[in-house]
Amino acid sequence: MKPPPFEYVAASSAADAVEALRRYGDEAKILAGGQSLIPMLALRLARPSALVDINRCDDLEGLVESDGVLTVGALARQRDLERWAQSGSPLLSEALGWVAHAPIRNRGTVVGNLVHADPASELPALLLCLDGSVLARRKGAERVIPADKLYLAPLTTSLESDELATSARFRLPPEGAGWGFEEVARRHGDFALVGCAALLALDGARAVSHARLGFFGVGGTPVRSGPGEATLMGREPTPARIVEAAKAAAAALSPDGDLHASAGYRKKVAATLAERALTAAVARCGGVR
Protein backbone atom coordinates (compact mmCIF):
# COMPACT_ATOMS: atom_id res chain seq x y z
CA MET A 1 0.00 0.00 0.00
CA LYS A 2 1.49 3.28 -1.09
CA PRO A 3 -0.60 6.04 0.54
CA PRO A 4 0.48 7.40 3.92
CA PRO A 5 -1.86 6.47 6.79
CA PHE A 6 -5.13 8.38 6.99
CA GLU A 7 -8.49 8.20 8.66
CA TYR A 8 -11.33 7.40 6.25
CA VAL A 9 -14.61 9.26 6.78
CA ALA A 10 -17.58 8.09 4.70
CA ALA A 11 -19.82 11.16 4.61
CA SER A 12 -23.49 10.46 3.96
CA SER A 13 -24.55 14.01 3.03
CA ALA A 14 -23.04 17.40 2.21
CA ALA A 15 -23.82 18.54 5.79
CA ASP A 16 -21.99 15.48 7.10
CA ALA A 17 -18.94 16.25 4.93
CA VAL A 18 -18.92 19.91 5.99
CA GLU A 19 -19.05 18.85 9.63
CA ALA A 20 -16.04 16.56 9.07
CA LEU A 21 -14.16 19.45 7.44
CA ARG A 22 -14.90 21.63 10.46
CA ARG A 23 -13.57 18.90 12.72
CA TYR A 24 -10.33 18.18 10.85
CA GLY A 25 -9.62 21.64 9.37
CA ASP A 26 -6.76 21.68 6.88
CA GLU A 27 -5.74 18.15 7.92
CA ALA A 28 -8.58 16.75 5.80
CA LYS A 29 -8.97 16.28 2.06
CA ILE A 30 -12.21 15.70 0.20
CA LEU A 31 -12.21 12.46 -1.82
CA ALA A 32 -14.56 12.75 -4.80
CA GLY A 33 -13.38 11.09 -8.05
CA GLY A 34 -9.90 10.67 -6.61
CA GLN A 35 -8.24 10.74 -10.04
CA SER A 36 -5.76 13.40 -8.91
CA LEU A 37 -5.83 12.83 -5.15
CA ILE A 38 -5.10 9.08 -5.16
CA PRO A 39 -1.96 9.48 -7.34
CA MET A 40 -0.84 12.34 -5.07
CA LEU A 41 -1.29 10.02 -2.08
CA ALA A 42 0.57 7.20 -3.85
CA LEU A 43 3.46 9.56 -4.62
CA ARG A 44 3.14 10.99 -1.09
CA LEU A 45 2.82 14.50 -2.46
CA ALA A 46 -0.25 14.81 -0.22
CA ARG A 47 -0.39 13.58 3.39
CA PRO A 48 -3.83 14.41 4.74
CA SER A 49 -4.64 12.88 8.10
CA ALA A 50 -8.25 12.29 7.01
CA LEU A 51 -10.01 11.59 3.73
CA VAL A 52 -13.65 12.68 3.64
CA ASP A 53 -15.27 10.51 0.97
CA ILE A 54 -18.31 12.31 -0.50
CA ASN A 55 -19.26 9.55 -2.95
CA ARG A 56 -22.23 8.49 -0.83
CA CYS A 57 -23.68 12.03 -0.59
CA ASP A 58 -26.79 11.77 -2.78
CA ASP A 59 -27.47 15.49 -2.34
CA LEU A 60 -24.28 16.32 -4.28
CA GLU A 61 -25.34 14.54 -7.46
CA GLY A 62 -26.96 16.00 -10.52
CA LEU A 63 -26.47 18.07 -13.61
CA VAL A 64 -29.26 20.57 -14.33
CA GLU A 65 -29.70 23.20 -17.02
CA SER A 66 -32.07 26.04 -16.29
CA ASP A 67 -32.34 29.51 -17.88
CA GLY A 68 -29.07 29.11 -19.74
CA VAL A 69 -27.14 28.13 -16.61
CA LEU A 70 -25.76 24.63 -16.18
CA THR A 71 -25.37 23.56 -12.56
CA VAL A 72 -23.05 20.62 -11.99
CA GLY A 73 -23.16 18.87 -8.60
CA ALA A 74 -19.95 17.89 -6.84
CA LEU A 75 -20.49 14.22 -7.68
CA ALA A 76 -21.26 14.63 -11.40
CA ARG A 77 -18.53 12.78 -13.26
CA GLN A 78 -16.69 14.31 -16.19
CA ARG A 79 -18.27 11.58 -18.29
CA ASP A 80 -21.77 12.75 -17.22
CA LEU A 81 -20.97 16.27 -18.42
CA GLU A 82 -19.46 14.84 -21.61
CA ARG A 83 -22.68 12.92 -22.35
CA TRP A 84 -24.83 15.97 -21.64
CA ALA A 85 -22.55 18.19 -23.73
CA GLN A 86 -22.87 15.98 -26.83
CA SER A 87 -26.20 17.69 -27.47
CA GLY A 88 -25.98 20.56 -24.96
CA SER A 89 -22.67 22.28 -25.66
CA PRO A 90 -20.21 21.42 -28.45
CA LEU A 91 -17.54 23.57 -26.77
CA LEU A 92 -17.70 21.59 -23.51
CA SER A 93 -17.97 18.37 -25.51
CA GLU A 94 -14.78 19.13 -27.46
CA ALA A 95 -12.90 20.20 -24.32
CA LEU A 96 -13.86 17.09 -22.33
CA GLY A 97 -12.51 14.83 -25.07
CA TRP A 98 -9.08 16.28 -24.17
CA VAL A 99 -9.42 15.53 -20.43
CA ALA A 100 -7.34 12.41 -19.75
CA HIS A 101 -9.05 9.20 -20.99
CA ALA A 102 -12.53 7.65 -20.72
CA PRO A 103 -11.74 5.44 -17.66
CA ILE A 104 -10.48 8.54 -15.82
CA ARG A 105 -13.50 10.61 -16.87
CA ASN A 106 -15.83 7.84 -15.65
CA ARG A 107 -14.61 8.50 -12.10
CA GLY A 108 -13.21 12.04 -12.14
CA THR A 109 -15.68 14.72 -11.15
CA VAL A 110 -16.15 18.09 -12.85
CA VAL A 111 -16.08 20.06 -9.60
CA GLY A 112 -13.06 18.11 -8.33
CA ASN A 113 -11.17 18.98 -11.51
CA LEU A 114 -12.15 22.65 -11.14
CA VAL A 115 -10.99 23.00 -7.53
CA HIS A 116 -7.88 20.85 -7.98
CA ALA A 117 -6.79 23.91 -10.00
CA ASP A 118 -4.16 22.29 -12.18
CA PRO A 119 -3.03 25.17 -14.40
CA ALA A 120 -2.79 22.86 -17.44
CA SER A 121 -6.34 21.56 -17.03
CA GLU A 122 -9.05 22.36 -19.58
CA LEU A 123 -12.15 22.82 -17.41
CA PRO A 124 -10.93 25.72 -15.21
CA ALA A 125 -10.32 27.80 -18.37
CA LEU A 126 -13.84 26.96 -19.53
CA LEU A 127 -15.26 28.00 -16.16
CA LEU A 128 -13.63 31.39 -16.76
CA CYS A 129 -14.90 31.67 -20.35
CA LEU A 130 -18.43 30.61 -19.38
CA ASP A 131 -18.68 33.22 -16.57
CA GLY A 132 -18.85 30.34 -14.12
CA SER A 133 -18.68 30.07 -10.38
CA VAL A 134 -18.30 27.54 -7.60
CA LEU A 135 -20.69 27.25 -4.69
CA ALA A 136 -18.79 26.79 -1.42
CA ARG A 137 -20.37 25.58 1.79
CA ARG A 138 -18.99 25.60 5.29
CA LYS A 139 -20.86 24.86 8.49
CA GLY A 140 -23.67 27.43 8.72
CA ALA A 141 -22.65 29.49 5.67
CA GLU A 142 -22.57 29.35 1.91
CA ARG A 143 -20.96 31.63 -0.67
CA VAL A 144 -20.54 31.88 -4.42
CA ILE A 145 -16.96 32.17 -5.67
CA PRO A 146 -16.84 33.57 -9.23
CA ALA A 147 -14.28 31.86 -11.48
CA ASP A 148 -12.11 35.00 -11.68
CA LYS A 149 -11.77 34.99 -7.88
CA LEU A 150 -11.21 31.22 -7.56
CA TYR A 151 -7.75 30.58 -8.98
CA LEU A 152 -4.82 31.94 -6.97
CA ALA A 153 -1.80 29.80 -7.91
CA PRO A 154 -1.01 26.26 -9.16
CA LEU A 155 -3.20 23.80 -7.23
CA THR A 156 -4.41 26.67 -5.02
CA THR A 157 -7.88 28.18 -4.91
CA SER A 158 -9.63 30.68 -2.67
CA LEU A 159 -11.66 27.84 -1.11
CA GLU A 160 -11.01 27.76 2.65
CA SER A 161 -9.94 24.49 4.26
CA ASP A 162 -13.33 24.08 5.97
CA GLU A 163 -15.29 24.74 2.76
CA LEU A 164 -16.76 22.10 0.47
CA ALA A 165 -17.34 22.96 -3.21
CA THR A 166 -20.88 21.63 -3.56
CA SER A 167 -21.50 22.60 -7.19
CA ALA A 168 -20.25 24.62 -10.13
CA ARG A 169 -22.25 26.79 -12.51
CA PHE A 170 -21.48 27.48 -16.14
CA ARG A 171 -23.36 30.21 -18.05
CA LEU A 172 -24.00 28.66 -21.45
CA PRO A 173 -22.98 30.79 -24.45
CA PRO A 174 -25.56 33.17 -25.95
CA GLU A 175 -27.69 31.81 -28.80
CA GLY A 176 -25.79 31.91 -32.08
CA ALA A 177 -22.35 32.23 -30.48
CA GLY A 178 -19.46 30.48 -32.22
CA TRP A 179 -16.73 28.57 -30.42
CA GLY A 180 -13.22 27.28 -30.90
CA PHE A 181 -11.03 25.00 -28.80
CA GLU A 182 -7.39 24.17 -29.45
CA GLU A 183 -4.78 22.31 -27.48
CA VAL A 184 -1.23 21.10 -27.90
CA ALA A 185 -0.20 18.14 -25.74
CA ARG A 186 2.59 15.59 -26.15
CA ARG A 187 0.15 12.69 -26.40
CA HIS A 188 -3.64 12.39 -26.37
CA GLY A 189 -4.83 12.70 -22.79
CA ASP A 190 -1.64 14.28 -21.47
CA PHE A 191 -1.73 17.61 -19.72
CA ALA A 192 -1.75 20.52 -22.14
CA LEU A 193 1.46 22.33 -22.99
CA VAL A 194 -0.83 25.15 -24.11
CA GLY A 195 -4.56 25.30 -24.72
CA CYS A 196 -7.05 27.92 -25.77
CA ALA A 197 -10.85 28.34 -25.79
CA ALA A 198 -12.72 31.06 -27.67
CA LEU A 199 -16.34 32.18 -27.78
CA LEU A 200 -17.67 34.91 -30.05
CA ALA A 201 -21.12 36.31 -30.82
CA LEU A 202 -21.82 38.85 -33.56
CA ASP A 203 -24.53 41.52 -33.78
CA GLY A 204 -26.54 42.35 -36.91
CA ALA A 205 -23.71 44.48 -38.32
CA ARG A 206 -21.22 41.58 -37.84
CA ALA A 207 -19.51 43.39 -34.99
CA VAL A 208 -18.40 41.28 -32.03
CA SER A 209 -20.96 41.63 -29.23
CA HIS A 210 -19.62 38.93 -26.89
CA ALA A 211 -16.03 37.74 -26.70
CA ARG A 212 -14.32 35.27 -24.41
CA LEU A 213 -10.75 34.11 -24.89
CA GLY A 214 -9.21 31.80 -22.30
CA PHE A 215 -5.86 30.01 -21.99
CA PHE A 216 -4.51 27.14 -19.90
CA GLY A 217 -1.03 25.73 -19.47
CA VAL A 218 0.46 29.23 -19.76
CA GLY A 219 1.22 30.07 -16.12
CA GLY A 220 0.15 29.37 -12.59
CA THR A 221 -3.58 29.75 -13.20
CA PRO A 222 -5.98 29.65 -16.14
CA VAL A 223 -6.12 33.06 -17.85
CA ARG A 224 -8.91 35.04 -19.46
CA SER A 225 -7.41 37.43 -21.94
CA GLY A 226 -8.54 41.04 -21.45
CA PRO A 227 -6.37 42.41 -24.28
CA GLY A 228 -7.46 39.71 -26.73
CA GLU A 229 -11.15 40.27 -26.03
CA ALA A 230 -10.84 44.08 -26.08
CA THR A 231 -9.21 43.97 -29.52
CA LEU A 232 -12.32 42.25 -30.88
CA MET A 233 -15.24 43.80 -28.99
CA GLY A 234 -17.43 46.06 -31.12
CA ARG A 235 -15.45 45.37 -34.30
CA GLU A 236 -15.78 43.05 -37.24
CA PRO A 237 -13.62 39.93 -36.68
CA THR A 238 -11.69 40.06 -39.96
CA PRO A 239 -8.73 37.69 -40.37
CA ALA A 240 -6.34 40.63 -39.76
CA ARG A 241 -8.14 41.60 -36.57
CA ILE A 242 -8.08 38.00 -35.33
CA VAL A 243 -4.31 37.90 -35.81
CA GLU A 244 -4.05 41.23 -33.96
CA ALA A 245 -6.18 39.89 -31.09
CA ALA A 246 -4.22 36.63 -30.89
CA LYS A 247 -0.92 38.52 -30.78
CA ALA A 248 -2.19 40.94 -28.14
CA ALA A 249 -3.44 38.02 -26.05
CA ALA A 250 -0.18 36.08 -26.30
CA ALA A 251 1.93 39.17 -25.56
CA ALA A 252 0.11 39.61 -22.23
CA LEU A 253 0.80 36.01 -21.10
CA SER A 254 3.70 35.12 -18.84
CA PRO A 255 4.03 31.33 -19.13
CA ASP A 256 6.66 29.32 -17.29
CA GLY A 257 9.23 27.24 -19.10
CA ASP A 258 9.87 23.64 -18.05
CA LEU A 259 11.47 20.54 -19.53
CA HIS A 260 8.48 20.00 -21.82
CA ALA A 261 8.40 23.46 -23.40
CA SER A 262 10.17 26.79 -22.96
CA ALA A 263 8.26 29.94 -21.99
CA GLY A 264 8.97 31.44 -25.41
CA TYR A 265 7.65 28.38 -27.22
CA ARG A 266 4.47 28.42 -25.12
CA LYS A 267 3.88 32.08 -26.00
CA LYS A 268 4.31 31.38 -29.71
CA VAL A 269 1.99 28.39 -29.57
CA ALA A 270 -0.56 30.44 -27.59
CA ALA A 271 -0.71 33.04 -30.38
CA THR A 272 -1.17 30.35 -33.03
CA LEU A 273 -3.84 28.48 -31.06
CA ALA A 274 -5.72 31.71 -30.28
CA GLU A 275 -5.76 32.59 -33.97
CA ARG A 276 -7.10 29.12 -34.84
CA ALA A 277 -9.69 29.09 -32.04
CA LEU A 278 -10.97 32.58 -32.90
CA THR A 279 -11.11 31.73 -36.62
CA ALA A 280 -13.14 28.60 -35.83
CA ALA A 281 -15.41 30.63 -33.55
CA VAL A 282 -16.16 33.17 -36.30
CA ALA A 283 -16.92 30.38 -38.77
CA ARG A 284 -19.36 28.82 -36.30
CA CYS A 285 -21.18 32.06 -35.43
CA GLY A 286 -24.90 31.86 -36.11
CA GLY A 287 -25.09 28.13 -35.49
CA VAL A 288 -26.32 26.44 -32.34
CA ARG A 289 -24.32 26.90 -29.15
Binding site: A10, I38, A42, L43, A100, P103, N106, R107, G189
Partner: protein, 162 residues
Protein backbone atom coordinates in the same frame (compact mmCIF):
# COMPACT_ATOMS: atom_id res chain seq x y z
CA UNK B 1 -7.71 1.76 9.95
CA UNK B 2 -9.90 -1.12 8.70
CA UNK B 3 -13.31 -1.22 7.10
CA UNK B 4 -15.65 -3.98 6.00
CA UNK B 5 -16.69 -3.94 2.35
CA UNK B 6 -19.36 -5.90 0.56
CA UNK B 7 -18.70 -6.04 -3.16
CA UNK B 8 -20.12 -8.13 -5.99
CA UNK B 9 -17.11 -9.30 -7.99
CA UNK B 10 -17.71 -11.18 -11.25
CA UNK B 11 -21.25 -11.94 -10.08
CA UNK B 12 -20.18 -13.32 -6.69
CA UNK B 13 -20.87 -11.52 -3.40
CA UNK B 14 -17.76 -10.95 -1.30
CA UNK B 15 -17.42 -9.58 2.18
CA UNK B 16 -13.98 -8.67 3.41
CA UNK B 17 -12.22 -6.49 5.94
CA UNK B 18 -9.81 -4.16 4.12
CA UNK B 19 -7.26 -1.58 5.13
CA UNK B 20 -8.64 1.83 4.09
CA UNK B 21 -5.32 2.54 2.35
CA UNK B 22 -5.73 -0.46 0.03
CA UNK B 23 -6.64 0.30 -3.56
CA UNK B 24 -9.30 -1.65 -5.40
CA UNK B 25 -6.48 -3.25 -7.43
CA UNK B 26 -4.75 -4.48 -4.26
CA UNK B 27 -8.03 -5.81 -2.89
CA UNK B 28 -8.73 -7.77 -6.09
CA UNK B 29 -5.23 -9.19 -6.40
CA UNK B 30 -4.24 -9.83 -2.80
CA UNK B 31 -7.52 -10.49 -0.97
CA UNK B 32 -9.50 -12.17 -3.76
CA UNK B 33 -6.55 -13.71 -5.65
CA UNK B 34 -7.84 -12.25 -8.91
CA UNK B 35 -4.38 -11.60 -10.29
CA UNK B 36 -5.58 -11.07 -13.86
CA UNK B 37 -5.94 -7.38 -13.02
CA UNK B 38 -2.38 -6.20 -13.62
CA UNK B 39 -0.80 -3.24 -11.90
CA UNK B 40 1.63 -1.15 -13.91
CA UNK B 41 2.20 2.47 -12.97
CA UNK B 42 -0.11 2.70 -9.94
CA UNK B 43 -1.04 6.28 -10.72
CA UNK B 44 -3.58 6.01 -13.49
CA UNK B 45 -1.43 6.45 -16.58
CA UNK B 46 -0.85 2.97 -18.03
CA UNK B 47 -4.37 1.47 -17.95
CA UNK B 48 -3.21 -2.07 -17.08
CA UNK B 49 -5.45 -2.23 -13.98
CA UNK B 50 -8.67 -1.17 -15.75
CA UNK B 51 -11.77 -3.02 -14.49
CA UNK B 52 -15.50 -2.47 -14.90
CA UNK B 53 -17.04 -0.65 -11.94
CA UNK B 54 -20.85 -0.77 -12.17
CA UNK B 55 -20.31 -1.56 -15.86
CA UNK B 56 -17.97 1.35 -16.63
CA UNK B 57 -14.21 1.06 -17.12
CA UNK B 58 -12.20 2.64 -14.30
CA UNK B 59 -8.63 2.44 -13.03
CA UNK B 60 -8.53 0.00 -10.11
CA UNK B 61 -5.35 1.71 -8.85
CA UNK B 62 -7.16 5.06 -8.52
CA UNK B 63 -9.93 3.86 -6.22
CA UNK B 64 -9.81 2.72 -2.64
CA UNK B 65 -11.21 -0.73 -1.95
CA UNK B 66 -13.39 0.93 0.72
CA UNK B 67 -15.08 2.91 -2.05
CA UNK B 68 -16.26 -0.25 -3.79
CA UNK B 69 -18.57 -1.10 -0.89
CA UNK B 70 -22.06 -1.78 -2.28
CA UNK B 71 -20.92 -1.79 -5.91
CA UNK B 72 -20.27 -4.33 -8.68
CA UNK B 73 -16.87 -5.03 -10.17
CA UNK B 74 -16.04 -7.11 -13.24
CA UNK B 75 -12.45 -8.20 -13.83
CA UNK B 76 -10.82 -10.09 -16.71
CA UNK B 77 -11.66 -13.35 -14.88
CA UNK B 78 -15.37 -12.54 -15.26
CA UNK B 79 -15.37 -11.69 -18.96
CA UNK B 80 -15.92 -15.18 -20.43
CA UNK B 81 -19.31 -16.42 -19.34
CA UNK B 82 -18.49 -20.02 -18.36
CA UNK B 83 -14.83 -19.66 -17.47
CA UNK B 84 -13.78 -22.23 -20.08
CA UNK B 85 -14.32 -20.78 -23.55
CA UNK B 86 -12.94 -17.34 -24.32
CA UNK B 87 -15.12 -14.29 -24.86
CA UNK B 88 -15.31 -13.21 -28.56
CA UNK B 89 -13.13 -10.19 -27.72
CA UNK B 90 -10.48 -12.48 -26.26
CA UNK B 91 -10.80 -14.79 -29.29
CA UNK B 92 -10.23 -11.83 -31.60
CA UNK B 93 -7.10 -10.77 -29.66
CA UNK B 94 -5.71 -14.30 -29.98
CA UNK B 95 -6.64 -14.62 -33.67
CA UNK B 96 -5.21 -11.21 -34.66
CA UNK B 97 -2.09 -11.33 -32.45
CA UNK B 98 -3.39 -8.41 -30.40
CA UNK B 99 -1.01 -9.24 -27.55
CA UNK B 100 2.59 -10.20 -27.00
CA UNK B 101 3.71 -10.19 -23.36
CA UNK B 102 0.11 -9.77 -22.23
CA UNK B 103 0.73 -7.37 -19.37
CA UNK B 104 -1.51 -4.61 -20.71
CA UNK B 105 -4.07 -6.97 -22.24
CA UNK B 106 -6.56 -7.50 -19.36
CA UNK B 107 -6.97 -3.74 -18.93
CA UNK B 108 -7.46 -3.23 -22.65
CA UNK B 109 -10.03 -6.06 -22.85
CA UNK B 110 -12.04 -4.48 -20.01
CA UNK B 111 -12.08 -1.12 -21.79
CA UNK B 112 -13.03 -2.82 -25.06
CA UNK B 113 -15.98 -4.60 -23.37
CA UNK B 114 -17.53 -1.23 -22.48
CA UNK B 115 -16.35 0.51 -25.66
CA UNK B 116 -18.02 -1.93 -28.06
CA UNK B 117 -21.32 -1.59 -26.22
CA UNK B 118 -21.28 2.14 -26.97
CA UNK B 119 -19.61 1.82 -30.39
CA UNK B 120 -20.80 -1.49 -31.95
CA UNK B 121 -19.25 -0.50 -35.31
CA UNK B 122 -16.28 1.68 -34.38
CA UNK B 123 -14.09 3.58 -36.83
CA UNK B 124 -10.33 3.15 -36.64
CA UNK B 125 -10.11 6.69 -35.22
CA UNK B 126 -12.53 5.83 -32.41
CA UNK B 127 -10.59 2.66 -31.62
CA UNK B 128 -7.30 4.55 -31.48
CA UNK B 129 -8.76 7.27 -29.26
CA UNK B 130 -10.05 4.60 -26.86
CA UNK B 131 -6.63 2.90 -26.91
CA UNK B 132 -4.92 6.19 -26.01
CA UNK B 133 -5.85 5.33 -22.41
CA UNK B 134 -3.72 2.17 -22.49
CA UNK B 135 0.03 1.76 -22.82
CA UNK B 136 1.43 -1.26 -24.65
CA UNK B 137 5.19 -1.54 -25.00
CA UNK B 138 5.24 -4.62 -27.27
CA UNK B 139 2.82 -4.53 -30.13
CA UNK B 140 2.97 -1.04 -31.59
CA UNK B 141 -0.85 -1.08 -31.33
CA UNK B 142 -1.60 -1.99 -34.97
CA UNK B 143 -2.60 -5.57 -34.20
CA UNK B 144 -4.61 -4.42 -31.19
CA UNK B 145 -6.58 -2.07 -33.43
CA UNK B 146 -7.20 -4.95 -35.84
CA UNK B 147 -8.22 -7.25 -33.00
CA UNK B 148 -10.79 -4.73 -31.72
CA UNK B 149 -12.21 -4.23 -35.22
CA UNK B 150 -12.42 -8.03 -35.59
CA UNK B 151 -14.12 -8.32 -32.18
CA UNK B 152 -16.70 -5.72 -33.23
CA UNK B 153 -17.47 -7.72 -36.38
CA UNK B 154 -17.70 -10.98 -34.46
CA UNK B 155 -20.03 -9.52 -31.83
CA UNK B 156 -22.23 -7.93 -34.50
CA UNK B 157 -22.45 -11.25 -36.38
CA UNK B 158 -23.36 -13.11 -33.19
CA UNK B 159 -26.29 -10.76 -32.59
CA UNK B 160 -27.33 -9.05 -29.38
CA UNK B 161 -25.95 -10.56 -26.20
CA UNK B 162 -27.85 -10.77 -22.94
Amino acid sequence: MKRTVRVKVNGRDCEQVVDVRATLAEFLREDLDLTGTHVGCEHGVCGACTVLFDGLPVRACLMLAAQADGHEVTTIEGVASDGEALHPIQEAFAAKHGLQCGYCTPGIIMSVCAFLKEHPAPTEGEIREMLSGHLCRCTGYHFIVEAIAEAARALAAAGPRP
